[in-house]
């Protein structure tokens, strides 16, 4: 039963992820990303982490991707806009990235099978309570710093997106 559910949703996650990067229409790509995220949430439940699954659906599928769609619909991205031919630089970068990613994955798998000492996470160790203790006691500082970092990114994006005329000018007397 568990294997069947895993197989179904793992398959769905991979297929929809491929659609995300290959579909010409950005709206369809975002919709497939929603399917990917929900499938991943199901996999989290199977791993015994229902909290992370619920957060995944609530934050990513329910909010962030809605904003993606919002932007796509507001900007009215044309279907044909994607059909520009990619240059040689893009192709080389893509190849290097793919090679790096494959290398990292291979390294991880190799290490896992070599040393069987890795203790699997129990549902106890990822329960809501222990998660809260880790986030708000043990790792409070890094957690807050990530928050600040994201805030800085938002502020920077807002400043960059502002019309040039309304930006504060440094050389003003």
């Amino acid at each position: 039963m568990e294997i069947a559910v895993f197989a179904l949703f793992a398959f769905l996650a991979v297929i929809s992820a491929i659609v995300v990067v290959s579909h010409r229409n950005p709206v369809y790509a975002v919709m497939s990303l929603v399917i990917t995220l929900i499938s991943l949430a199901v996999l989290f439940v199977l791993l015994g982490a229902p909290f992370i699954a619920a957060i995944q659906v609530l934050v990513y599928a329910g909010a962030i991707l809605v904003l993606f769609l919002f932007v796509i619909m507001l900007l009215n991205v044309e279907e044909d806009a994607q059909r520009t031919r990619s240059g040689i630089f893009q192709k080389v970068t893509a190849l290097i990235s793919a090679a790096l990613f494959t290398g990292i994955l291979a390294g991880l798998f190799w290490r896992d099978t070599a040393s069987q000492e890795v203790a699997p996470l129990t549902s106890q160790s990822i329960s809501l309570e222990s998660l809260a203790h880790r986030l708000f006691a043990a790792y409070l500082l890094p957690f807050e710093m990530i928050g600040l970092l994201l805030l800085a990114a938002v502020v920077a994006a807002t400043v960059l997106a502002k019309p040039y005329s309304s930006r504060p000018r440094a050389e003003d007397p």
């Binding site: 909290f51 609530l58 599928a61 809605v66 619909m73 507001l74 809501l128």
Partner: protein, 345 residues
């Protein structure tokens, strides 16, 4: 085997109740608005016009189902289905009665007994916006598109306030299970006042109530289907049963949010002074009856407000969401956290 049968039974009960919410609410809405506007309302089909929803349903089922030729077909067909899926699934985490014993087996009157109940409900209901977006985008109609863009902005803005007001309730309870929230509210203050969350969480309740209107796209926040500006908003191009699926989705999510409000703030299926220890059928029926009665209060309030207030302008709506409701929800959260730490809740 017994567990499977019990779960199937519970799901069956809720599907029947949720599907009958729409016809009942349509009747209440039409008669209610007639009452408010000093008219008679539909009164020809059956006594008091009670069979009017049946006539409507027959009409919608037999109408010609038109699919405009320029629509984006897959998304166009998927949108109405997605409108009712979240509404039907979110109900699974709401408890509707005490733990009962049938022939030596204990049964929790709750379909999905999961640790993260409240979060799961919020997560599933947040997916409802996709049906609006898909409908608006796929219709290939500017009014529909404007409607769904509005819906997206609105839902994102109000979901924050809604979630924060729910979180404030969960803090003193110390659990994400709605079952525990109900247990937490049993008991009396000074022997007369029920210990419902609505009293300490008055501010949170207000935020929840206002955000619920926005989440269900009801007037005064029905900007996404504002008929005086956008024809019918995101479902302009839909007809027959596809149109009525949107309709059913709206009423069902009203019922879900009403039941969530009743569970979080009004003690859920429990009522002080009611004895739940008798025969299992009686206690189950009592629990369901009480929950349905409390949910109806919310639904009647939704109808009352719809026919009493004018529609907001879109900028007013967003300003209310970000500059009033969100700060209020945060103040409420801090207040409740402080009270909980001080040990008063």
């Amino acid at each position: 085997m017994f567990e499977l049968a019990a779960t199937a039974g519970k799901i069956g009960i809720w599907v029947v109740i949720l599907l009958s919410v729409t016809p009942v609410m349509v009747w209440i809405e039409r008669r209610g608005c007639a009452l408010i506007q000093d008219r008679k309302g539909p009164n020809r089909v059956g006594p008091l016009g009670l069979f009017q929803p049946l006539a409507d349903a027959v009409k919608l089922l037999f109408k010609e189902d038109i699919i405009p030729s320029e629509v984006d077909r897959p998304l166009y067909l998927l949108a109405p289905i997605l409108a009712i899926v979240p509404a039907l699934t979110t109900f699974t985490v709401i408890p509707f009665g005490p733990t009962i014993i049938i022939g030596g087996q204990t049964v929790h009157l709750l379909v999905a007994d999961v640790d993260t109940g409240a979060l799961l409900l919020l997560a599933l209901s947040s997916l409802g916006v996709y049906s609006l977006v898909m409908a608006g985008y796929s219709s290939n109609n500017k009014y529909a598109l404007i409607g769904s863009v509005r819906a997206t902005a609105q839902m994102i803005s109000y979901e924050l306030a809604l979630t924060l007001s729910v979180v404030a309730v969960l803090i003193p309870t110390g659990s994400l299970r709605l079952d525990d929230v109900v247990t937490y509210q049993q008991g009396l203050w000074l022997g007369v006042i029920p210990q419902w969350n609505i009293f300490p969480h008055a501010l949170g309740f207000l935020v929840f109530l206002i955000a619920a209107f926005a989440e269900t796209n009801r007037l005064p926040f029905d900007l996404s289907e504002a008929e005086s500006e956008l024809v019918a908003g995101y479902h302009t191009e839909y007809s027959a049963m596809k149109f009525s699926l949107f309709f059913m989705g709206e009423y069902m999510s009203m019922a879900t949010l009403g039941a969530l409000g009743a569970t979080l703030f009004l003690g859920g299926w429990h009522l002080p002074g009611v004895d739940f220890t008798g025969w299992w059928v009686t206690s189950a029926l009592l629990g369901m009856g009480i929950l349905i009665a409390k949910t109806s209060l919310f639904l009647l309030f939704f109808v009352w407000v719809r026919w009493t207030f004018p529609r907001f302008r879109f900028d007013q709506l967003l300003r209310l969401g970000w500059k009033v409701l969100l700060p209020l929800a945060i103040v409420n959260l801090i207040l409740i956290s402080a009270l909980t730490v001080a040990g008063w809740l």
